[in-house]
Amino acid sequence: MQQKTTDELITQEMLLKIPYRWAAGEYVGEFLRELRHSGRIYANKCPKCGRFRCPPAPVCSRCHTRMEEREKWVEVGPRGTLLAFFVAEQSFLVPTTGDMLEIPFSVGVIWPDGAPVALWHKLEETNPDKIKVGMRVEAVFKPEEQRQANIFDILYFKTV
């Protein structure tokens, strides 16, 4: 057959849409239960080297000691200090929903009072000129009856 040149380049479009079910596990599960049940944020502490983890973790990644004691859980927050932040001003596809990210979308890295840990969460303020590293913020929870033991039980952190 005579070789024909074709200028047309075919690109095929497809959509990957896969449902998942992720087990939070024993420690993160308990952390989420506490968000729902008591409206409190918890960290746990390594009994050997004293390093904190939030959400709580089963083993200290610094000294490899088990952190099994439930009573050693420490409440942190609801207030904290902002260590860093970003504000998305360009929208991107959100893979968990297939929708485009609503912008501006601002997220802070927050040091909650009570333990040297860092939590990522949404900030209420989206104007970068009004957000300062070092400013004080506070977690705003959903009303108890709306909480579902997921990270959205905290709606966002507001500027204090």
Partner: protein, 159 residues
């Protein structure tokens, strides 16, 4: 002190349902574009010849998997072939588009040296035979993808 296992033993595990939703665009490449354009526009199947190995590969690939040479020589193939093997699917995975039970198999098109995977149609699922002669049936509305061939059906007289 109460350990975590004791604390959480009777509590309901927390499971987060979610999705991964991602659109993709797959560029088939210049050579495979010829293959898909021929399916769509002319209801023709083309392969590519490796003159070194004296083999015809379909669907066409631009590198020979045996001798690693680059391949350019396109060859028109018949739409008929021989069924090499097959299976019948009885369940519905979440991404499947066909209703079970359905059959698909690997077909050696006349003139080709490789297998061509596709769905079998207009066929009695209890009477499929390896070695059966089959022919490609094209859709009326084609888009330049492998499903422009709707299925392979047994050639008349081959059942």
């Amino acid at each position: 002190m109460k350990k975590m296992g004791q604390e959480t033993a009777n509590k309901e595990p927390i499971v987060t349902p979610g999705w991964i939703i991602m659109p993709y665009r797959y560029s088939v490449g210049a050579l495979a574009s010829k293959f898909f354009v021929e399916l769509r526009d002319n209801k023709r199947i083309i392969g590519v010849r490796c003159s070194e190995c004296n083999r015809v590969i379909v669907p066409p690939r631009s590198v020979c998997n045996k001798c690693f040479r680059k391949l350019h020589e396109c060859v028109e193939l018949d739409c008929k072939g021989t069924l090499l093997t097959y299976t019948i699917v009885h369940y519905t995975p979440s991404c499947e588009w066909l209703k079970p039970p359905f059959a698909y198999g690997i077909i050696q098109l006349d003139g080709a040296d490789t297998g061509f995977t596709h769905v079998l149609g207009e066929v009695d699922l209890d009477n499929i035979r390896i070695g059966m002669r089959v022919e490609a049936m094209f859709k009326d509305k084609r888009q330049g993808n492998i499903l422009d061939i709707q299925y392979f059906r047994p050639l008349a007289g081959s059942l």
